[in-house]
């Protein structure tokens, strides 16, 4: 079953880029996922207004990752950002040629969170690179990934480009039939591309609904012999147990509906999970 067959398709995918090391690897992975989901994608290079403001302060300094300190020069920073943007554009163009896909690229300047949310409004899917390194995970795009994923209007994929997907399954969470169909379709499609098994966590508001959801799910999956799924009913929602189950350390990808998780659940899941997390949101068909 393909996403398009159930009316779910990402038309515009945006990958967020900045001057970080993670961004450099993000393009390749983003292009790969976009290929799986049969969507075009654009790169948006963010120039952080706060960073530019910092460079204008008289005593601002930057410390290299090797521990050397030097003055942060506004002109040099501007130049370096432009150079990074150029490199990102070239990388996107190379990828477009290599993968024969249509790609766009733009540079925007502003406060990061505002810009990200604005981009999320224009896109179906926002891909956000993050870092799991203690040193950098609280900086730049990585710092905002969880919050943006929780508050964006588009679907969001948060991933660490420097870490390959784990060897385990694609884990997904489903509850209501409407959400389940969309989430399952995307999860199954990604399973097939990633050559990973599917683990479905089924949840509901009460035991009766849980049983009903699980039964319906079982029937839907049995009808599709191409997908082998491990179905696991989970009785509580929004709890630690559910997030723990989703954030399987060996998992390859987590796919969940924003409606099912809720904002707090999204933030918590992204902070816990080492695997990439895809938060799905319904968009009006156009």
């Amino acid at each position: 079953m393909r996403p398009v067959e159930i009316g779910y398709r990402f038309r515009r995918t945006v990958v967020a880029l900045d001057g970080s090391v993670e961004s450099r690897g993000a393009l390749e992975r983003a292009a790969e996922v976009a290929g799986w989901l049969e969507t075009d994608f654009s790169g948006v290079f963010f120039e952080d207004e706060d960073l530019l403001a910092l460079s204008a302060l008289p005593f601002s300094r930057e410390v290299s990752l090797g521990g050397r300190s030097r003055a942060l020069d506004a002109v040099a920073l501007e130049g370096e950002l432009r150079a990074q943007a150029r490199r990102a554009r070239r990388a996107i163009e190379d990828l477009a040629r290599l993968r024969r896909i249509s790609c766009g690229f733009e540079v925007v300047r502003g406060r990061l969170q505002n810009m990200l949310l604005a981009q999320a409004q224009q896109a179906d899917l926002l891909m956000l690179p993050r870092s799991s390194e203690p040193m950098t995970r609280s900086t730049g795009l990585a710092r905002l990934a969880a919050d943006v994923a929780a508050s964006a209007t588009a679907s969001v994929l948060v991933f660490d480009p420097r870490k390959p997907p784990g060897p385990g399954p694609v884990v997904t969470l489903v509850d209501e039939p409407e959400n389940a169909a969309r989430t399952l379709a995307v999860a199954k499609d990604l399973c097939r591309h990633m050559r990973r098994p599917l683990r479905v966590l089924v949840t509901a508001g009460d035991a009766e609904a849980l049983a009903s959801n699980a039964e319906a799910l079982q029937a839907a999956l049995t009808a599709d012999p191409a997908t082998r799924a491990d179905i696991r009913p989970v009785e509580t929602t929004g709890k630690d147990a559910l997030l723990e189950a989703l954030a399987d350390p060996s998992g390859a990808l987590v796919v969940a509906s924003a409606d099912t998780l809720g904002a707090a659940g999204i933030v918590s899941l992204i902070r816990r999970s080492r695997a990439p997390v895809l938060i799905l949101r319904a968009r009006p068909q156009g």
Partner: protein, 804 residues
Amino acid sequence: MPVPALSPAQLYTVCDDLSFETTDDLEDLHGALGQERALRAIEFGTGIEQPGYNIFVLGPSQTGRHALTLRYLQARASGEATPHDWVYVNNFSDEQKPVAIPLPCGTATRLRDRMRSLIDDLRTALPAMFEGEEYTRRAEAINDAFRQRQEEAFEGLQEKARTRNVVLMRTPMGLALAPLKDGEVIKPEALEAMAEEERSRIQSDLEALQQELTGILRQLPAWDKHRRDQLRELNREMATFAVDHSIDEAKAQFEGLPDVLVYLDAVRRDVMENVAAFLPRPDSEQGAADPLPARGAAGFHRYDVNVVVDNSGCTGAPVVYEDLPTVQNLTGRIEHISQMGALVTYFGLIRAGALHRANGGYLVLDARKLLSQPFAWETLKRVLDSGRISVETLSQLISPISTLSLEPEPIPLDIKVVLFGEREIYYLLQQADPEFDHLFKIAADFDDRFDRTAETTRLYAQFIATTARRYRLRPFDRPAVMRLVEHAARLVDDAERLTAEGGRIADLMREADHCALLMRAAVVGRDHVQRAIEEREHRIGRIRERAHEAIQRGLMLIDTAGTRVGQINGLAVSQIGALTFGKPSRITARARIGNGEVVDIEREVELGGPIHSKGVLILANYLGAHFAPDRPLSLKASLVFEQSYAGVEGDSASCAELYALLSTLSGLPIRQALAVTGSVNQYGEVQVIGGVNEKIEGFFDICSGRGLTGEQGVLIPAGNVQHLMLRQDVVAAAGEGRFHVYAVRTIAQGIELLTGVAAGERGDDGLFPAGTVFRRVEDRLIELADARRRFGARDAAQPEPRLP
């Protein structure tokens, strides 16, 4: 007393002392015919266990020297100890220098297989161990501790920053700390508007935090190194159990082989240092074959055991014949694999050469082939001299550029090399190569002939029977075998010897068998052998026929009837390839007054060789000593081979030349129906010559073509009678009195046959009897001497008078 013609029995020694029906009745011949000397030398050479006692087997190629020697070597080797196997393994401390390990016969493949299973086991056991709960938990603990340490450091820093309203930001080159106001980085103008005290506080806070950040970042590498050390130690600890268990098991199987135990310990250390190689690789690296790097062995190839010599299939010592003795085929080679356009190698690509395979036994080589391969002879000598086999590439020997390659550990050499070659090669090497005698002290000289006795004839029949069976020929009946034996004598031009070149007889047997096939005979008979001989003669006889045709057509002037003064038929032998044939050649002599000089015209025009000239000088001295010894020899004689345009060599015509000269001096004509061969010494004795059969047959063919008159014949030296094995038609004609062969011992006997006049012996008065050949010669010489004396009194400057 005139010399009688030889009887048919003297012209052809028949073989008549065999008694069997066909060769099926005869047993195989297991020994060698007439090669006792060579075989004793081989036995002696193989028996001496000292360096340099290698063997050079010399002699004609068709003597069976190869088969006989190989048979002897194989028989001897089968009773000797089977030598070690040899393997090359990785040198873990210097991969460019692989280590050679000797192993008891049959153990090499066992070690190779054991190492394969050991590595396979480790490839299963180690990942299982490293994927196990214990390892994962402990590794995570180490990583978590590192992460925790980082987090604590950064969290602490960020917490401090938060309390001071400062945020950590990414910059293109690293990190920076930014002061906040209302959740945004303070703008320069806002900072400017602040009180000096506030600005100083912010600056001070930032500097303190930056200092702390710098300290953390500088500590990170040390923390990470500590983490890696801990992981390495954990890997070692986890691997030790599995590796020790496997290695100890393997060592138990090779107890008593110290080299193997040392190697296995080296493997243990290397596995421990490279445990990561046994663990699953990331997806991106999987699927590709285990590559060889540009240098050294990598991956699991480094644990290969390269069996270069496996004697497990041998019983006794090896006997190896190398048909193509190139340097690489002798000393082995190092192969390469093309990888990404580059040629790479490792110890597993070392290949054994013939020296490796024959080590502990015998290596048999053809000298001519060896010498024709670039650097092969020099390499063999160097290896024999050093007593070690080093794998050398030709490029190492000749290339001016030294490329990085392997230097396998040399293997000790214990070998006996047996070289085969023609005598010329043996003597050439002996003369030109000072190391040759030092390295090949034993010469096994295979003879080309042996005595023809009743016993050797019987053995020869057995040899024929063996050959017939070996080549699956029809059986040969007794007359056929007898004809083959007779032909074996003819091949060496000696009725009392047989050829040892069995290959030539075997060829004739195959051809006779084919003749029998054409004639639908079940058994090869004498006729088939005879036809095979004739067919062969016919196949190669074109040049002989052209030469005889020139005589029959009168282009070459040869008389076979009548008489002529000073003219005689000499006999020459020509050899072109496999064809040897005789033909007559007219020799003439003229004489006049002179100073005792006999001019060899062939020599004057440089068509005569030194031996021919020697013969002419001898006859001149015979003349001077035998006739009028008290007077100076006062003639000037000239001798010439008429219509001879090629060179003349040998002294077999010296008799004929002397007869012609005696005829000239005596004025007695020579019978042109006769031809002469033989050399003469200073006493007038006729000496043996070569090719007597071909010479007689050559003159017979000319006479036969013109019609045999009963007057024709050939004078040969009496010493050559033992060599006569003439063609059947010649023997038949002689038996019918239509052709004659005379065996003469002296010039006197010969001149009597040629002139029909008695030669004469000196009487008591010191003179030859009147009317004899020698009297007439002496009278003429005295006459010339007197004339010369008379002329000598006159002006020496005047020209000498011509004789009437």
